[in-house]
């Protein structure tokens, strides 16, 4: 029979054993480690550890059913759902043209690597989405399917300033600020596209 209370322990052992206190002390220790995590994925793994320690504490205190629920729901279900949610929300979608995506130019791979590095420092992922032509790319930016576009500047425009080869248009202002401050490669221009006159949801 399941008795989810401490009373069972006290009925069987009149004195609570010393190891009970030590095991219970592990719970705030794991919680403190969890609180000081910065990266969301690391925090989720530590949360799983906290769930394992919590179910041990519940089992030692005699609450077998609570321990089973903590292990099933708190550790397995919640963590899996949260990883899926964080993975699909913490992402920057960058739209590029298919012809740019297929060519393996050194400037482009350097630029993508630099963008990825900047974005990774803020715990985001960079996802490349390729479109067949530039109209589809512009429409995708307007319809808010992607957060930014990266296209090649046509040669007649770039005669005056030679170092710019690509132009990057970003529609999320905070991302634009991050890129403006931290992007180190000078091979792209940065533009902020304000779409806020339409219904603003991003």
């Amino acid at each position: 029979m399941f008795w989810p209370t401490v009373l069972v322990v006290e009925k069987q052992h009149k004195m609570i054993d010393i190891y009970t206190y030590v095991i219970i002390a592990l719970l705030p220790l794991a919680a403190l480690i969890l609180v000081f995590q910065v990266n969301p994925y690391h925090a989720l793994v530590i949360r799983a550890i906290l769930g394992a320690v919590a179910s041990l504490v519940y089992a030692v205190l005699g609450a077998a059913d609570v321990a089973l629920t903590e292990a099933l729901v708190g550790t397995m279900l919640a963590i899996t759902l949260y990883v899926v949610a964080v993975r699909s929300s913490l992402v920057m979608r960058l739209g590029i043209l298919e012809e740019v995506a297929t060519e393996k130019e050194q400037y482009f791979t350097e630029l993508i690597a630099n963008l990825r590095q900047v974005v990774n420092e803020h715990h985001l992922r960079l996802e490349l989405v390729s479109y067949p032509n530039s109209e589809a790319l512009d429409n995708a930016l307007k319809n808010k399917e992607i957060h930014a576009t990266c296209t090649k500047i046509s040669p007649q425009d770039s005669e005056s300033e030679h170092q710019f080869i690509y132009q990057t248009a970003i529609r999320v202002h905070h991302l634009f600020e991050i890129m403006q401050n931290e992007l180190t490669l000078p091979t792209t221009t940065l533009n902020y596209i304000n779409l806020s006159h339409q219904e603003d949801k991003h």
Binding site: Y41, A48, T80, V84
Partner: protein, 83 residues
């Protein structure tokens, strides 16, 4: 027989320290695997010490479920690095 449990608690502190200090997510996952197994083995020991069958059954279930949860989590994190 309490000294067995005290020794296991001390052994449990090693992966907790590893999960705290290491910044690589796979090292954290390894520490999680270690902790999940160690805690359920400790539950089994407690159930044997107290002759408490329900806790023993729950410990066995948690021992298998912990591994399943670890596999799910590892697959999700691995696919995150690929995309």
């Amino acid at each position: 027989m309490d000294f067995i449990l005290i020794a296991m608690i001390l052994a449990l502190l090693i992966p907790i320290y590893e999960a705290w200090q290491d910044n690589d997510i796979w090292q954290k996952m390894l520490a999680f695997a270690s902790i999940a197994t160690k805690t359920s083995i400790m539950m089994l020991v407690v159930s044997v010490l107290r002759d408490d069958w329900p806790i023993g059954v729950v410990a066995v279930i948690i021992l298998s479920v912990g591994n399943a949860g670890l596999m799910l989590l590892a697959h999700l994190i691995r696919r995150m690095n690929e995309i």
